[in-house]
Subunit: 299 residues, 2 copies
Amino acid sequence: MTGQRAFEDWTKSVQSRMEDALAFFLPTASEMPARLHQAMRYAVLDGGKRVRPLLVFAAGDLFDADTAMLERVAAAVEMIHAYSLVHDDMPCMDDDALRRGKPTVHVKYDQATALLVGDALQSQAFLVLAEGGGLNDSSRRVAMIRLLAQASGSVGMCGGQAIDLASVGLALSRDELERMHRLKTGALLRASVLLGALGGKTLAEHEVSALDAYASAIGLAFQVIDDVLDATADSATLGKTAGKDAADNKPTYVSILGLEQSRALAAKLRSDAHEALMPFGDKARRLCEIADLIVQRKA
Amino acid sequence: MTGQRAFEDWTKSVQSRMEDALAFFLPTASEMPARLHQAMRYAVLDGGKRVRPLLVFAAGDLFDADTAMLERVAAAVEMIHAYSLVHDDMPCMDDDALRRGKPTVHVKYDQATALLVGDALQSQAFLVLAEGGGLNDSSRRVAMIRLLAQASGSVGMCGGQAIDLASVGLALSRDELERMHRLKTGALLRASVLLGALGGKTLAEHEVSALDAYASAIGLAFQVIDDVLDATADSATLGKTAGKDAADNKPTYVSILGLEQSRALAAKLRSDAHEALMPFGDKARRLCEIADLIVQRKA
């Protein structure tokens, strides 16, 4: 079996395992209030590339983390990601009708439900991380919760979205654009990597630094490629509305650097990511392959 | 000094201490993204009766909890409460322009900012609870986070709001109305009481039961009085739009039981609350006085 094929099999197995884990960690659709719970499941299940869970599991490999704990951690991160998409799609934000090839939550249900779905998914993420077995070390669990809360909040993902909103129609510099994405998507990708590793053991400072360098590189690469795809792919391939950034007059890597230089930047970031992982040797193989996946993806 | 006067002094001292604690635990207004942080502080500071922090501190008295930890816990609960108000006031929910005598966040700023303020306040609440000193027992801290997450989410506060939304225009029975409020406001009030007590020690089952009975009684009393005030007080006194429930055709205790029977129910719940606290003796004095405050308040 070639390396590429083995990676694809691994990816599929994590995705399938996560579908089950998310279905398990979300409230059942019949539990009261049933409509809210159905909408929460609609927002999370059956969709997405599960990039963050892949990062959690790949980083868990570094220190042989318990897989039950990784499922829990990955589910928590994915719920935070899913809630941010639900809120981001609402009319007062990006006003998007299509997500992962399906109607967005406020279109399928209604705006008030979408608001509550997002709110409740965030609580659920912290609940999932705070309960259940798989990690007897409570101080490490508290460290994980702290990490996820910081990555999600006003100096993380929410802060990035606030900067994004404020920058519509402005001519951002490349530095400003990078800072925005470092918060908006980078913070949660970084948290995924660190949380997976923390699932294995308490991290030494040099391990955090190496993982930070990796996460920073793939976080930016992810965004650069997102901008490239938004400018080049069609909605059917993306499963969301293509060309939206240009239509919204949003600054992107493509608008600042052009298409070719954006692609070159993504390739450079990929090799930075590989380099950052060198201290971990072969244990970091999946993390390297995810860097490749992020840069080579078509949607 | 009379008991009533001593209670008022205690209330003021907790409120003032909480204003400082919240100002400290929120990101500073100058930190990037500054506008989001300003709006978060606008939503939380300088307002409210701080009923939940009062409950945290009063319950902390039961087992001589460390006050630094109680400040942290109370700040977390109040941030959850504040975020729920910000989202609840948005046009797609209650569409309210006035809160605590000030323009609501989406009126003062804009809807997208209000959405992000609520989201970021929820993350901040879990961050505050997960970091800092005052509690060396990590497993108790995890238990607190679990409790707050459960009380906030789809089987707690968010779930109650979903039921509330779904019930506009419907003729709810008293049982259905009670179930809705038990989630919408009761869950977080209960969490305040249990979190304060947990600040002192790990709770025995009979202690949880007694505190549950107390919290359940004051939670309902709080709502009954809210409905009475909505029907009888004016907007200037309430600091929010009065008569809104009737205008929105929402079921209330007053619409189901009438004004006099609602007042009688509140008095009965107050005495239930006192009775539930009897095992704790004089240590529960502040909790008893809060039950009195909830039933006797004019706004």
